[in-house]
Amino acid sequence: MSPFFTLLARDVRLAARSGGSAFLALSFFALVATLVPLGVGADLRLLARVGGGVLWVGAVLAALLSLDRLFQGDFEDGSLDLIALSPLPLELTALAKMLAHWLSTGAALTLLSPLLALLFNLPPAAILTLFLSLLLGTPAVSAIGAIGASLTLSLKRGGLILPLIILPLLSPAVIFGAGAVSLTLDRLAADGALSLLAAFSAGAVLLSPFAAAASVRLNLGG
């Protein structure tokens, strides 16, 4: 196995082991999606109207729960020094880590979302749009999140600052993602919103490994 997939497999395994982040993110997502209908009440039309937005915000926040540990765990126990000296360039290290984060949170949340969408009385067409929008949009959450995680990796309470850095940057994903679901509810074509979401994700995944690697380098020297 190449060094890239070695690191990817190890990070996914760490997330899936007991005390890992994957289960935490899924539980949080499921709890938010269950609590909101309880709070809003049984107005089915209203629930369908807010469903896309609530599920998107819930997914972003759930993915955020484990982001601060993306580099920090390896930084604190000295593993990051050893990874930096390995044949794998830091840019690919960052890419492997964000991909592992996406597989253990974003992808898992996307798979769970159709089930939770039923709680919001979303029609099948809107559920499909929600699924597609999360599939296309959550990679951007992991990618932009990785930049934030690399910036805050040497801060003890970095988890508190991290959302302040990355949530504003993630607003386009939430706007296009939830917007696509609303368009489908109104029986309009959601292709445009989904395309913009895909473009946003592609740009984020392509560029953020360079930013994250540069910031990790600075922190290793600090």
Binding site: R10, R13, D77, G78, L82, I83, A84
Partner: protein, 205 residues
């Protein structure tokens, strides 16, 4: 170890290391050749770990330079130097959830080294192979870190307090491993308070 990866010498020319406004050491020059070990000595906080991090390329020298001489000629590039370094820091870099064998297999694959199961027996952890690292003692973690250093198959070893947390048999083991590395033409730079047990040079910071 492949011969082309060997280093014939590492030279420090008038190195200065500063952390913030504070200058840790100035005008430090030394040379270590193939087969030699250098013990870096000095009181706590004098900059031993910083010197190792400078050589590894994590820190950038405020002045001076580091030159690696190998089969391909002279190199000043920190990135290229990093790919020749075997690192044993004062932290062990182990995950409590993963077993001893899983950790070693991961690091061996990451460094494209060979995951020789004999390495665990050599460092005295053969019986703990399937044990998650959270059950290991500090000394056993140190032994696993040493096994990782061996599978990384790098010519230039940077060791930070290599004897820390080890019992007397562990200290003998590390001395034996270091002697073998030098015997094969490797280079060792170790920050330490204790004698390395080798015919080494020493550098007082």
């Amino acid at each position: 170890m492949v011969n082309s990866e060997m280093i014939s010498s590492l030279t420090a020319e008038r190195l200065t290391c500063a952390r913030g406004d504070r200058v840790l050491f100035e005008d430090l020059s030394f040379r270590v050749k193939t087969g030699q070990a250098l013990a870096v000595e000095g009181a706590n906080g004098v900059g031993k770990t910083s010197l190792l991090r400078l050589i590894a390329g994590f820190l950038i020298p405020a002045a001076g330079r580091l030159v690696v001489q190998d089969a391909g000629g002279e190199s000043h590039d920190a990135e290229a130097r990093g790919k020749k370094i075997g690192w044993l820091g004062h932290q062990d870099g182990l995950k409590p959830q993963l077993t001893v064998a899983e950790q070693l297999a991961f690091w061996a694959a990451l460094y494209r080294g060979t995951a020789d199961p004999g390495v665990l027996a050599e460092v005295g952890l053969a019986r703990q192979a399937e044990l998650p690292c959270r059950y290991l003692s500090a000394g056993q973690k140190r032994r696993l870190a040493l096994a990782r250093l061996l599978v990384s198959q790098r010519p230039l070893w940077l060791l930070d307090e290599p004897f820390a947390a080890l019992d007397s048999s562990g200290q003998a083991l590390i001395a034996q491993v270091m002697a073998r590395h030098c015997g094969r033409g490797g280079i060792i730079i170790a920050a330490t308070h204790e004698p390395l047990g080798l015919a080494n040079e020493s550098l007082k910071l």
